[in-house]
Symmetry: C5
Subunit: 323 residues, 5 copies
């Protein structure tokens, strides 16, 4: 579906015309460019556009099929970029992914979006208020889209930092917690983020290096800035991953320590029963001459002895930390 | 065995002639090329072909003996590529490997296949319907074969993702599972896939870079596309491997947690027996003055006391989660 | 807030003038430069300065917002550097971070500092006593600031070495210690330090390589020296991290060993009770013909037997290291 | 000791003459070369040869002392290569190492061998039957020696694969096995192999790249082929090492699972004794009114009750998998 | 303190003159050079020398303060190298570190040594007997010092190999050993060695590459030789570190296996007491009709039964490996 389409001239959206063929025809001045935004388009829609703008068939195929790897492909007169989009679903504590494919030529930008998140409409509105960026032409749009996507990476990473903090608190809490499943799931999400972030680094380096023909020299610092944000995301993800591994090891240690504590508690508890049982056994012996047996208060004495011994053990174990 | 053999002219299969020597003789126009497909050929067969097409003896040796490492070797007027083929055997949940060796010259392609999987017949049929690819000549065939093989890597990787998901479910299920052998086997399969995928990256980079003389410039984007699919396979394998390691750690944690749970259950169970034993021991003492012994309902009282204490402990342990 | 501002001429601070616009106007001789020091300035303050000195808007944005990644950005006629500052808070055994952004042009330096630590005032005072460094102009200031920051990295690293030594002592002490939380926290701090140190390496290599236009050739050895200190910090952090991992493993081993010791102690303790209980049980049997039962000293004999057996077991267990 | 020595002319061993000085004198035609083979020679022997052929003193020193690292050293008019040789000693399941040093000039080859394995005599005989390789002159000999050594690496690696398979079978067998020592030893052997294989990669890349003056262009594909075999050895070693680590983790998991099984078996066994003991305790109580005590078949009833309870528990534990 | 000082001419130590200023003045022929050796000199001493020889102030600072990182710094007309020295203290099984800083110019060498070990006096004496090395001038001295230091690295590494072998023997011995502290300490020493070895690689590569102006071309192979020894040290350290990690894992496994063995031994031991207790309990029951109670040899029979059952269990447990 074609979601939005406009002609940009002199750093602002030109009035009039809504169909892309019409706009394409009007884009005849130097610096004019058309931006066509699609969302999960049909193959036909994309092929129509591809034919007019001369997009490479392989790139078009990649744009239609989602689940591509982030990459930058340079063709003779255009550049093709695939980006993974990420967003955090609060209800499920999960990271979801979408995809944006962008074709950038001298006088056109075609964006193809897959998945729910990261709609580009607001990015376009924001961009339209910023002449500075729009005046860079299609490179400006390319920058704006990547910047938006990478900012959302940072948002996702911030959410993951919170999750790691929660796990950390849980692992080191005094309570018995079952953290391994959560740590596993979080590691999985981090891997997901990494798959979006890491392959994008090389394209951004190329864009920032000004090697790509469609990127103007003045735009390079902007891409360097985004590359830097991306590097921050990547570093944070790596460092969260390492922290989670350490947290997992700490969790394993907690389990062992708890088992040890339990074992000592159980043993102490057992002693409180087993020692009185020995006393009972002694007074259950059938010796003819056992003075205590004939005492008037022999029985209370025996019970008292049991209680006293148990109490003594209790104090002993409490002091030594076994109970 | 020579499985198939044909002359290609103007982007389609030429009629007439079946023996490769004959076809070779007919391939006299510019752009003509012969494609000889062999399956586990005898040394003699390969040497005959090698002599006519001037294939390098080392490459021929590698093509006859299977178990080579994926590699791209450039000789004066031809290119030699070895590929590992992979396929997933559902019945055994196992990855099997075969091998394809390809010689590509200006006017010929010789493919030598080992192992059951990845027959090239359908690849050839598919290719014959696509003039676009065939018109690139031998490079087109090279691309088509690699593309087919790499697509099968992605299929295998998809199956492995399912296997990892199953293991994940098993590890985190409430039941007692024995997952270490399965995780081990899966790690082994991942290593197998990695051995096919990783060494192929460098050849594809070289093909995509257009450095190889037999690869036309227009073919380069196609090889870049395959290189990208290969990169996706490699990244997924790495990330599955890391996930499996985490899953294994989680499995170890589960074992410890279960042992702890068992230990507490056992201790609670023991308490239910040991405490009544103490009571029995007490009433087994031989004191002369033990009022309960003379009660008419002393015996039922004692049994009731035992039952009550046991029931009390039961409730206590249930509440504290030990039983 | 603008914290300090001065004009430097001939390697020393020029008298007179306090407002930066005024100083800027006076800086008309060759080699003159103005150094404006700000601390958590308002956007307006920075923008005013940026306009006069022609600072790039992206860099200005990064300077105002803290939480950037260390980086060196070169613009047409100036260099922009972001540094993380680190300091160790003794009371909390924690590493805290701040940030310094520096703009260096041919005739100006603007430093923007965030966070409590690493005030630059003393660095400036120290610098003002050193003509040698000041005579390098803005590069000299840049060097002085980085040198100061990196020296503080080394101070922080020294504190962390002490922390690791403490943990080491705790892990290998005879007492039961709970070190996993401390190790985790320390690993977290190391990750914090690493995030400051690692991304700074590449900027320093570039500065040391003399590739940056604003850095004079004579200044290069100074930056190489700082780069070397940074490398030392990085290596120490890596090696502390590896040591902590080993210490953690050792801690896990200690837990296991202690559990084993406990188990043997408990078993030995149990034997001291259970064996006498058997003896009591034997003399509680109701056989008609049990000579001991009729002995005058049968009861003391039985008690003595119990004590003797228990004592014997005690000695046995003591000898074999179980108690 | 000089083991063999010959003059090669026109791709075959020339007749006549056995002393190397004599052969050296006869090697006056273009393409002639002398190959001197030594085994653990005395310093004097090597120095004599070195003087005549102008070998560099440092290389000579390295050739006499064994325990060098594999390396390729280029001098003005000769090349010096050190190789580790490996062989597998079946009786001890161990990898042993030796060393070969080779000096290659335009008209001579000097090989110095240390250690028992990898005698070069058969390599020489094999080479002498192959005019193709010998016609490459000294480079051909160099190739033949390296090829032979690397082939033996692959043989050793194949043996290690068998060892890993055995360990794998042992770890996952139902029996209680003690695999940690074997895994450790195997990891040690793998490290040994790695020390031979890894440093040889760079020399082979250089030889395969045709950068070395003594290597003819036609010989380059041969060295590339060997480099490829070496890469296969290296990859297999890495992948075996990773598998062993996983096997070790699996072994740890097995121990834990077995301990858990043991604990449950023990507990179940204990229950079979403890519950009858409670029953015995109950009928050992001294209540005046206990009807069962007066029953004629009270005693058999009690024994039956004990047996019945124990049998019930047995069935219960069997069903739940505790016994 | 200036330890030694001499003028070298024509590859040997020139007679006469002991003060370095005097010697400096005499060094007026081509190829002459002065070597000043200092040990932990005062700042004044170094500054005097530095002024005369024109040493860079930063390098001088590094030479006076110890605890630098190994590095090679090139200045206009001199080279500055910092080396860590290592030696093994047998009594403490510990590695200690010192430092050597060397300034090398066209006609001078200044060595500054810190720490007890690696005195250079013997190196100088040895060097003075070797015209070959001395004839390379200051580069020869530089080589001799580095060679000496790196040889001592190899000695230290050999000692560490012995330590690792001891730990290995201890871990796999049948006895209960506490190896974690030793492994930890050894890992720490390895890290120490690594900190000396790794940063030296890059300087040696530069020296071996002949890029440094003060290093003559003929000296390059010598530096390559040292670089190779250094690489061997580095590889051995890495491989020892990996072995220690495996040994640690094996140690953890041993602990678990021992705990398991203990648990089974304890359980078997408990059975030997608990089953007779049950028998005693049975004959302690108060049934009126228990034939055994009236037997003349009832009591010995009961004791015999207990002993028989215990013996039976003993045999059973011995056979199954529990005792």
């Amino acid at each position: 579906m074609i979601v939005d389409c406009a002609l940009y001239r002199d750093g602002k959206r030109a009035e009039g015309g809504t169909h892309w063929r019409e706009l394409r025809a009007k884009a005849d001045r130097d610096g004019d460019f058309v931006w066509i935004g699609m969302h999960e388009p049909s193959t036909t829609e994309v092929h129509e556009v591809a034919e007019v703008f001369g997009l490479h068939s392989l790139a078009v195929e990649d744009a239609v099929k989602a689940h591509q790897r982030p990459k930058l492909e340079r063709f003779e007169d255009s550049v093709f970029l695939v980006l993974k989009t990420l967003w955090y679903v609060d209800e499920e504590d999960a990271v979801e992914t979408g995809e944006i494919a962008i074709f950038v030529g001298d006088d056109f930008v075609v964006t193809v979006r897959h998945g729910r998140g990261n709609e580009l409409h607001s990015a376009r509105e924001e961009l339209e208020t910023s002449r500075r960026v729009l005046s860079h032409g299609p490179s400006g749009v390319l920058y704006a889209v990547i910047d938006r996507v990478v900012d959302e990476y940072l948002d996702v990473v911030d959410e993951l930092i919170v999750d790691v903090d929660e796990i950390e608190a849980s692992v080191f809490s005094a309570e018995r917690t079952h953290d391994s499943a959560r740590i596993y799931v979080l590691k999985r999400e981090l891997a997901e983020v990494r798959r979006a972030v890491l392959p994008l680094r090389e394209p951004l380096v190329r864009l920032a290096g000004g090697d790509e023909p469609t990127v103007t020299d003045q735009a390079a610092p902007f891409f360097r800035d985004v590359a830097d944000h991306l590097a921050r995301a990547a570093e944070t993800v790596d460092s969260l991953d390492a922290l989670l591994s350490t947290a997992f090891d700490a969790y394993l240690a907690q389990i062992s320590v708890q088992q040890n504590d339990d074992m000592r508690k159980i043993s102490a508890g057992a002693a409180l029963v087993v020692v009185p049982t020995l006393i009972a056994g002694i007074y259950g012996m059938n010796f003819r001459h056992m003075p205590e047996l004939d005492w008037t208060f022999g029985y209370p004495f025996a019970l008292g002895l049991m209680a006293a011994v148990a109490a003594g053990l209790w104090v002993l174990f409490k002091k030594s930390g076994w109970l």
